[in-house]
Subunit: 358 residues, 4 copies
């Protein structure tokens, strides 16, 4: 199912080179004002062709709202949004029917759908399907903001170049606001040049690079989430792994925390301004699957986008013989900057659902 | 909800120091023979007090099956299993009502349940609740095995001592069988001594250590899973984060893959014995959320168990003042060896659900 | 949630006088040929303005398929369908903001959505929302037919004029085929005139009449469904009550069976052509929530459409005073004939989901 | 799945002649006091052997609470309840393995589970499984009552003897309180004798009779429920059809309303004590799937319990030949009086879930 959520339900539809893609977001409460400019800002951060790291394709990713918002206010009915596919060059993909691209879903989708899936541009598996996800997230985070909850993410690393991490106990609103509109969001901007070099170097080689994205959700009150399979980690990870190319996630100190002793990794409690806080935040704002009131922090690993022009080994599913493949066409040497807005969107989705599901 | 699954549903109930804990597993097909000895072997691997790294508590974790299995064969009705709590010393936990233990769910559960939750032994948040999960997994993996699907995991690291990783493209059945019955499962057994030293050293300091667990599922046919929110990664991660203490997960090359170039990270296809395989398996057996037919591989990060006897800073929720806490009582200096069986169990749960949900 | 289903998920969106309505149908298996002419036939049966019993509105209810069907074959991706709203005269509804229409959702929706819902034409509560449901049903029943499963319904009664009931044990394919394309489907066609008289008489009085619809699903193999909350009755009734105006449902002998003795109501088994059948079918093809292999039979009660031009008592929500209301505009004196195709569609939806969910 | 609910989840397990039956009720908020005496009163109303219309079996249907309630107060963890099966005489059922009882689930369950299901006493399909459902309902209705919501039902008819219906706009608390503790709940008690005569007459003939149960939920605020598949009718009907033997349901004027004109069937609004009410309540308190604030009213049809001692035609599944069957053993000539408490319980379940799901 291309569906996420319990209390809200996001249904994503469309194929990369079909007529349109889109989303239906059901369960959004009525009466919330939605600023379309803010929605477009987020969609533009994800859209291709806006930054040097991205593909030269130009897509008019305009979300046509068909229902659920009247005069800029949510009606309570499902919000349906349609995004036309206007710039589709299908001829590029003809040979993929036979020879699946390594690292892509071509082969596994071929098996699952007996070859009936629309393979052009990756079909329903295309990164393009993240556009309606960003739309949905952009709507939901506006409602979250009206409840004092803010979401921000930055490029934590590209290739082996790392940005500074968020301060896990104190993240300023000004930093959040700045990151929220950036196309290349970094905490330490001095890292931008090195990161861009890594991307350019890969591009020059007909190759691509991956990276990581760190995301925080600030303002979630203590007590959201639940034990066992109802924990925040499970809900957020299910949403984040909904993004093609994500292959790992960790909360708080995560993998590095597994090397620590408890005396280092435990977060001591203290009263601060009459409120219970933790002095550190190695738990990423989550204890027992439930929010502690501190920022929720997670990091996602994004694999290098598999489309490369270098020749690769593959198979020919028609002839049953091994084959060689050179993927022509347009592709990003690094999707990490564009994926930041998508990570924020699915974080909004997961947290909104958890909050409504209390 | 303490519920997992779409096609099968696992409901886990109980509180650490209540009368009993247990599970109901609904949706299991009828007609499968279940070997109770194999179930008990898995439960015993998780049970405390069986290994030097574990707590000295002794629990009779015997699963009383109340329905769903008749004469050793599944009836198709929900399988209900009850495990009595026989060795509960509640007096140890009295002061936790006031002073939440750092790293535990005490504070967040207190907020969520307004102090009405059963805090003794962690209540419904206790690691003890993984016993019924192992029961459910032990049932399901027997059915999976009858379909040619095997699951195995090993201690990938404890503190900073690392075991050798699985060969991602070829895992022998003999290794799987060996790991499946081990209480301290390692691929490179020479690492056991170093790992035990790290645990003992922490215990001597009244502290604890964490680690990582690598798990594989072998024999899943290509074509299982789905795009976007229906991917294997999302389903498995939701199950794995259902285990208390897990704070990270990665599939295949995961976080290290995010530092690679696509030309290194992509897995080339080839025909082998007339079957499509990949030469490497950096994708962890999953492309576009769908199985490739290669082993599914993931690694989970387990935080150091937060119960330590060292004095820690906390708050007193009754007085509203900062406080000191020394956690007395019985606790594991390292839960990683016991958690291996739990990781395997939730892997069985997730893969079984995905297979049934095709 | 405007969502139905476990294994397939139908999401319905749109508001009567918004830009468009539509549906996303997720979980449809790949590789099925869909004949659009058959889809249009079913949508036309539901569409208004085609029969004298219906409203004079003309709507171009053409389903624009945006994804999930490529070259007439299902791709396995969600099937998205958009239906433009072209003939919307909003001015008719302005006073309803203040004075809710008796029998409609105006008041209850106003309370639920705090007045933010789109009230024009009933908004998301409009009978018009059944158009995308018929679309989804028309797709699914084609796949069901390829599995030997046929669905048919007829007008069982209008006002107090009753049609003959289906023979519960033997329904010919020719009768099914005939009913499937009829705009006024009856088993005993001699009842048409009397029924139309009842409708015309109500129309002349500015009033409307209700009726009942009997539906059968033939060819469902024995063994589909499940016990307790997983029964066929529960699944079908949830789907059928998704149709605005349905207020009752009964399976097999239903309410009249509650007056019988078991010796009359029980359906004796016998072998017929080597197959187990029942001599009668008072259980409506369902025992213990599971199909018996006999036709599944249910009857739905449709209330008289509440839009009448007669003056009615209501309240003015703005002034807080009692008020009078005369509903002007276009409305059906009887929606039962058009609702037949909708009942068939939701039957297809429910049965398809149950079959896939085995 | 033997699971009901979205926001709360009730899982029912057990087989009639297994070791125990029970329920897990997840999602119940913490901090509610539960009076066990009130729970036992409801369970006793359902239990067999308490009334002349019932089976002479004696069952100790005591609900052993294993978790989720501590010192009489809900903890927020899943509430698990176990009911031992103490009085099981399995020998009665041996020949049913071969010859399915007409009107029972024997044949359909045999097909679904390939003969692996526990057939003794109906196994998981037994009416006995309603005991844990009544337990769950008895817990939930206590919480509902603390929110001002009361539930009551009465025997609306047995065979062809009818009780007076509820006044649909005004139901006194004293009537509710009286019905809530009655074993033979009637509005017009003068009907009891006639009803008992009909039951006794059937019993004397080795036969059984069915009936109808009318249920109301008073105090549900306006605005609960939702459009299309999210309506109250769908949720309640799914719960009510979870009761074995229910074959029909109608809301408000239901089937009889389908014979009326809108001018008769519509419920006019008016202000009463400053509140919007309807003068009549033909809609059963539900418009557009959403509560109107008036009592929610529905009626369920219960088929005559299929166990009769009269000889019946059936098949022998082993020999493949037609056969005769006389069902020996203990059975109720009428389950309607006992089913009243079950209908109330599932009404509590559905309404509670809808309220929490707002």
């Amino acid at each position: 199912m291309s569906v996420y959520g319990e209390k809200i339900k996001l249904t994503v539809f469309g194929e990369s080179h079909g007529e349109a893609i889109g989303a239906v977001l059901d369960g959004v409460p009525s009466g919330y004002k939605i600023d379309m400019d803010k929605v477009l800002t987020q969609m533009s951060r994800r859209a291709p062709g806006k930054d040097k790291t991205a593909t030269p394709r130009l897509e008019k990713d305009f979300p046509n709202i068909k229902s659920g918002i009247l005069n800029g206010v949510t009606t309570g009915a499902p919000i349906a949004c349609l995004i036309e596919n206007t710039n589709t060059k299908s001829s590029d993909y003809s040979n993929l029917m036979d020879s699946p691209r390594p690292g892509h879903s071509d082969y596994t989708a071929y098996v699952k759908y007996n070859g009936n899936n629309d393979i052009r541009g990756g079909g329903h598996f295309s990164g393009r399907l993240t556009a309606p996800i960003v739309f949905a997230g952009a709507v939901l985070r506006q409602i979250l903001e009206q409840q004092g909850i803010k979401i921000a993410a930055h490029i934590s690393s590209i290739a082996d170049v790392e940005d500074t991490a968020f301060n896990p106990v104190e993240i300023s609103d000004s930093l959040i606001d700045e990151l929220n509109v950036s196309r290349f969001p970094l905490i330490d901007k001095s890292k931008e040049e090195k990161m861009r070099s890594a991307v350019e170097s890969a591009r020059a080689d007909g190759d691509s690079v991956g990276g990581t994205i760190e995301c925080i959700v600030k303002g979630v009150p203590a007590g959201v989430g639940g034990p066992l399979f109802d924990g925040i980690e499970g809900a957020v990870s299910k949403a984040v792994f909904g993004i093609p190319a994500v292959k790992g996630i960790e909360f708080g100190s995560g993998f590095s925390g597994s090397k620590k002793r408890a005396s280092e990794n435990n977060d001591a409690f203290e009263f601060k301004d009459g409120k219970v806080v933790t002095k550190t935040n190695n738990c990423g704002g989550i204890l027992g699957g439930i929010s502690s009131g501190m920022p929720i922090i997670f990091k996602a690993a994004v694999k290098p986008t598999p489309s490369v022009s270098k020749e690769q080994d593959t198979v020919n599913l028609q002839t049953g013989k091994n084959a060689k493949l050179s993927v022509k066409g347009r592709h990003d040497p690094c999707i990490v900057p564009r994926a930041v807005a998508v990570v924020e969107a699915v974080a909004a989705l997961a947290i909104f659902d958890l909050l409504e599901n209390r």
